[in-house]
Amino acid sequence: MNSRDTILQRLRERSGGKLNQPECDFSVLERPSSSVAERVEQFQKIIESVHGEVHRCTPESWIAQLAGILSSRGARNLLIPAAHQIGQALRDSGRDDLPELLIYDEPVRSWQAHMFNEVDASITSTRGGIAETGSLILWPTPDEPRLMSLVPPIHVAVLEASGLYTTFHEAMRVQNWKSGMPTNALLISGPSKTADIEQTLAYGVHGPKELIVLVIE
């Protein structure tokens, strides 16, 4: 009998009594309903407390704000999505105060080294966010691959204010995650950090050192 069958048999033919199926009451997760403005405020407060950076924008202002932010960090380039309208808007903006716009549309092996060593910043869309934990929801796609929000030292994320949920449970339910999960789903709640050296916080260990959220209201 192989290991699989041995293990399953041991589990099924256990010697103890019948095991209860306790009721699971999820109501402890519920929060009172809140306005978009309240959710934005809660989101901002929490993500800023862990060194996330939040900029409130309008659909008309975000590109100019982005240009200012990237120039203040000395970013030489910006990795953008090829197809998403964020990428389109940036390319169509015709601004000369934006850094060099980069697009990857080939498999990772050909551009991985470049991304690791030469790319200063990236910008991605989000699938909303969670106010209670100060989190962004990302489902990477072929257009916005997984490494885009992980490798460059600066990650800029565009969050529609109306896309903020109060709790993770709410987001999961409203977006119906259980009906089909992507290859990779992520909650990102700040820049990369560690406290492994005598519990002293340090940022940018392996992931981005800066997480900048443009909240579009």
Binding site: L11, D105, Q112, P142, M172, A185, H206
Partner: protein, 475 residues
């Protein structure tokens, strides 16, 4: 204290404890760290109905355990549909072989690792090393511990026993960094060293925090980003988990995540919550082309047999128990000599290594209950410790012992002492006589009473027992 894992004798608990108690650096490092973690956890649960949340966590874990074999089959089915290859390992050795075989089939020479306690349990790094495959830890705490040739001293913060000075010296010696107490500099150096490794690793090995049967999803929590790197950059990802980590529904992870991060480090959420449901699809540009899951039994199905001991399997590996344990705080993680230290180690390890080798683990507790009070899934740890003590001495004919190595601690002398004690205390007349005599002879009481009087004066017998005084009163 450095211990090579192969050669640590778990039975040598007492000398290690004595050394740790006498070591001011260990005492200071652990006291400071634990105090911080205790406060952070408390603050993080502000505004929550913590008891209701713990109840939910406990019930979700119990429900999953009640359905464990079915959920494991469902998990396997969904993962396989998603393109993940699922393997089953009876024990740590088999799991190591499975991982090695995957590496060999891919001509893999380097493995980069995300944090995984179950791979520590099976000593995977040593096994791979013996088979000419380099395994490098990428979590900063694990990386530090690996540089030092040590094992983790805490399940969440592996290098918690080291202070900044010690880490600086270690990194200077092993990797050529400057001697600097600037944590930012040390972190940036480690980042640089490990970036290269991520890019060139053939295989990434990770643990799993929660495995969801409903959707075939593996969930991982982390702050650094090395977990995402490990599970995204190398062309092959191998996830390893104990069989008990599966939950039924996707929504089950929400309260468990809320409990885990707050209980472990006092965070509302970790920087990244990473949910993986398959390998790279043809149209995707990054991610591993091959994903494997290794399900490891290694004694868990034995624990599963017993209704009371089964509660051990609820554990979500948060570390709150050891953060609040007065024993752990004073002796540190290495004293236990086991993969898992602290209270969870004391109730889990006897099943993995036997009660013979683990003989000192169940007694190394004052049963204060601080651990059970903070456990996010309400494991009754003190009750399990008492149960394991009974198993250690075959102490209950009504409930015969069954844990591997049971009875190993039953000593003729101690058993006789308790037999005699029981004889006297079950007979009121004998008890009253014995205690009256003792009170009369109290001046002959020995001044030295072993371990007790090393630190304290001996307890003083009263001139007359309460029994005697009540009799005088006519009661």
């Amino acid at each position: 204290m450095t211990q090579a894992p192969h050669h640590t004798d778990v039975r040598e608990f007492h000398p290690r404890a004595r050394a740790a108690i006498a070591d001011p650096k260990i005492r200071k490092n652990f006291r400071k760290a634990m105090d911080g973690l205790i406060t952070k956890r408390k603050d993080a649960f502000e505004g929550w109905d913590l008891e209701a949340l713990r109840d939910l966590g406990a019930n979700i874990r119990l429900r999953a355990l009640a359905n464990l074999p079915d959920l494991l089959e469902q998990l396997e089915k969904k993962l396989t549909e998603n393109g993940v290859k699922v393997h089953w390992a009876i024990d740590g050795d088999e799991a190591c072989r499975i991982i090695r075989d995957i590496c060999v089939a891919r001509n893999a020479k380097t493995v980069i690792k995300g944090k995984s306690m179950v791979t520590e349990e099976m000593e995977l790094n040593h096994y791979l090393d013996d088979h000419d495959i380099e395994a490098l830890e990428s979590d900063l705490g694990e990386y530090i511990v690996q540089l030092a040739g040590e094992t983790p001293s805490h399940i969440i913060m592996p290098a918690i026993h080291k202070n900044t000075g010690e880490i600086s010296e270690l990194m200077h010696e092993k990797t050529g960094t400057d001697l600097s107490s600037d944590v930012e500099y040390l972190t940036a150096s480690a980042r640089q060293q490990l970036r290269e490794k991520f890019m060139n690793a053939d295989v990434g090995v990770s643990g799993v925090n929660f495995a969801v049967a409903e959707t075939g999803t593996l969930c991982l929590v982390e702050n650094e980003g090395n977990g995402r790197m490990t599970t995204t950059v190398p062309p092959c990802h191998i996830a390893v988990t104990g069989i008990e980590k599966v939950v039924g529904n996707l929504e089950d992870v929400v309260p468990l995540l809320a409990l885990l991060t707050r209980s472990a480090t006092g965070q509302h959420i970790t920087t990244y919550f990473n949910m993986i449901s398959g390998p790279r699809k043809p149209e995707e540009l990054d991610g591993p082309e091959e994903v494997h899951l290794v399900l490891v039994d290694n004694g868990r199905s034995s624990i599963y047999q017993d209704d009371e001991l089964l509660d051990t399997l609820r554990c979500i590996r948060c570390g709150a128990c050891m953060n609040h344990c007065p024993v752990y705080t004073r002796v540190g993680g290495h004293t236990y000599g086991t993969t898992y230290p602290g209270p969870i180690g004391k109730i889990l390890m006897p099943h993995l290594i036997g009660l013979d080798e683990g003989r000192h683990l169940p007694t190394a507790s004052s049963l204060c209950g601080a651990c059970g009070e903070v456990c996010p899934v309400k494991i009754p740890i003190p009750d399990l410790l008492v149960r394991l003590r009974q198993e250690s001495v075959d102490g209950d004919k009504l409930n015969p012992a069954k844990v591997r190595g049971h009875g190993a601690k039953r000593g003729t002398l101690e058993a006789l002492v308790w037999r005699g004690w029981s004889w006297m205390h079950a007979r009121p007349g004998a008890y009253r006589l014995g205690t009256t005599v003792a009170s009369r002879l109290r001046r002959l009481q020995p001044g030295k009473l072993g371990g007790w009087t090393r630190y304290r004066t001996a307890p003083k017998l009263a001139a007359r027992t309460l029994h005697e005084r009540m009799k005088e009163r006519g009661q």
